[in-house]
């Protein structure tokens, strides 16, 4: 049996009277591609922040990469990668400078940074863009670079927050191919997305509604149990139940 790299038990987050995340429990296996879906306001982002060690749970437990998110959040951060749509790269730094910076932050030795940089640029076909300022790269390239950066230090788990928003269809799929390659190497991928076709690419998907996990299973089984053809239809049925879709 594969080790569980994420274990959430009754994870809860309150802001005053408002319960953003309501006692969620689940496990994620090593090497899994785990889709984390939900409507806006359902509590996805808050839950992810707790798992990344960025926010303390009000109740419950979270173990990520073997460390407790409450007491050992610094260890958690060292062992995970993170990429969000809004930011992952410094626009006014060059491609190699970004890699060097993040490598340094995660404590990689210089030699390793150099080696991996060359490897990465080769894989992505970016060798010519080594010295380009990130802000001059097209969006699709930025996203691919950002993803590669997030796993540059070979973390156990990488958290991706809507990584493909606004990206053209071809690049989106190339991006997911990068995700598959990472999963094949044993990196667990925890991803949120609003593209329902991407939900189909995941090994398992959880859907949050009003702070709770209302469904968690493989896409195939979810569609079967709801009697529908696509993940979009699954989502539709669940989201309609939401009371606080616009809170």
């Amino acid at each position: 049996m594969n080790k569980d790299v994420i274990v959430a038990e009754g994870l809860t987050k309150r802001f005053g009277d408002f319960v953003a995340v309501d006692h969620i429990s689940f496990q994620v296996e090593e090497g899994e591609i785990f889709g984390f879906l939900g409507a806006n306001g359902a509590g996805k982002t808050t839950a992810m922040r707790m798992l990344c060690g960025l926010s303390h749970p009000s109740e419950g437990r979270g173990i990520v990469a073997g460390y407790d998110v409450y007491g050992q959040s610094e260890q958690v951060k060292k062992n995970i990668g993170y990429m969000s749509q809004k930011f992952s790269l410094y626009d006014d730094l060059k491609v190699w400078e970004n890699l060097s910076l993040f490598g340094g932050i995660y404590g990689m030795p210089d030699k390793k940074i150099r080696e991996k940089t060359n490897l990465l640029l080769g894989e992505l076909g970016f060798q010519d863009e080594r010295n380009t300022l990130v802000k001059s790269l097209p969006l699709g390239w930025k996203q691919k670079l950002a993803f590669s950066l997030s796993i540059f230090h070979d973390p156990k788990i990488v958290f991706l927050d809507e990584p493909t928003g606004g990206v053209d269809p071809v690049t989106r799929r190339q991006f997911w191919e990068l995700i598959y390659q990472a999963a094949d190497r044993g990196i667990t991928v925890f991803v949120t997305t609003h593209y329902m076709d991407e939900a189909e690419y995941c090994d398992r998907v959880s859907i949050m509604v009003d702070g709770k996990i209302e469904a968690l299973d493989s896409p195939f089984l979810l569609k079967k149990s709801f009697g529908v053809e696509t993940m979009y239809d699954v989502f539709l049925q669940l989201a309609r139940k939401a009371k606080r879709s616009d809170n």
């Binding site: 928003g165 053209d168 076709d197």
Partner: protein
């Protein structure tokens, strides 16, 4: 009757060509979708049409008025919802709406019938500060503020970005309802599945329109042979399909792969090929292309 007319529009920022020679027309009362990824030039185009930016070359008119010379009159007749939230976060819902009604020299009551369906959904929160609204509600408020003066043409720049599929569906339903009031709507979006909901669409990439037509016509004009392919061991399947000599392109589409095949290739050919490679539960179907397939084929042709 054309209400928006664009001829040979060009716009560059330094060396970057944001818009390269666009010409198109939008008919009165239609929902015209501009479909393409970020960086395609959608926002630049909208800013030129709403008189906020000057093109380097070319001309555009809104209801016969030139966007450069007659900008003052145009600004009275259009509604604009820019890409990011651009209302006042420290004013309440009601205060924002009143403000925008007033600067357009009208009142909320005068055109309330236009925004009623939308505003009703956020009315219970009308005293809440706009900055504290959820994403979906902010959208609805922004839409109401753009409609409150009964514009002839509505420009919506990526109104559904970052929003979950259900809210997106609701938003588009609101847009469909607006049609009956005769408002022309130009809307840009990176989501290919929203294209179907428009009357006509323009597929845009790198500042150029690759194709303009009704969604159905675009799908009908798709000339490739396209199949959906599924089997066990989907991960491996991708590589094998790509290695297959008579397969042109293979892309993931949710549960299946959409495969375009060279002429004269047949389904049974592919089936045999895959069976020999040891795949089981192989399902290959000829399918209709989706807008996304059309878009991807067009971008590949460009390269």
């Amino acid at each position: 009757m054309e209400i928006v007319s664009v001829r040979n529009l060009k716009k560059s920022y330094g060396k970057v060509q944001a818009i390269r020679n666009l010409s198109f027309d939008v008919n009165e009362g239609e929902i015209y979708g501009i479909i393409g990824p970020d960086g395609a030039g959608k926002t630049t185009l909208f800013r030129i049409l709403t008189t906020l930016l000057l093109a380097n070359e070319g001309a555009a008119t809104i209801d016969g008025l030139d966007v450069v010379k007659n900008y003052k009159q145009i600004r009275k007749q259009i509604g604009y919802m820019p890409g990011r939230f651009s209302l006042y976060p420290d004013l309440s819902v009601e205060e924002n709406l009143t403000f925008f009604a007033t600067i357009f020299n009208t009142t909320i009551q005068e055109n309330y019938h236009l925004v009623e369906d939308i505003y009703k959904q956020i009315e219970p929160f009308k005293t809440r500060k706009a900055g504290k609204l959820s994403g979906g509600m902010k959208q609805k408020l922004a839409l109401s503020c753009a409609l409150i003066h009964a514009p002839k043409v509505l420009f919506l720049d990526e109104p559904t970005t970052g929003v979950d599929p259900v809210s997106r569906k609701e938003f588009w339903e609101m847009l469909k309802n607006l049609k009956k009031h005769g408002i022309t709507i130009l809307v840009s979006t990176p989501y290919m599945d929203e294209a179907i909901l428009c009357d006509r669409i323009a597929l845009v990439q790198d500042g150029e329109f690759m194709q303009v037509d009704t969604p159905q016509n675009i799908i009908d004009s798709y000339s490739e042979t396209i199949w959906s392919v599924k089997s066990d061991r989907m991960h491996r399947l991708l590589q094998d399909l790509r290695d297959c000599p008579w397969v042109k392109t293979t892309f993931s589409f949710g549960e299946t792969y959409h495969v375009t095949a060279k002429e004269k290739a047949t389904v049974s050919q592919l089936e045999t090929f895959l069976t020999e490679k040891g795949y089981r539960d192989i399902i290959i179907k000829a399918i209709h292309a989706t807008i996304e397939d059309c878009f991807m084929s067009l971008t590949q042709k460009k390269e």
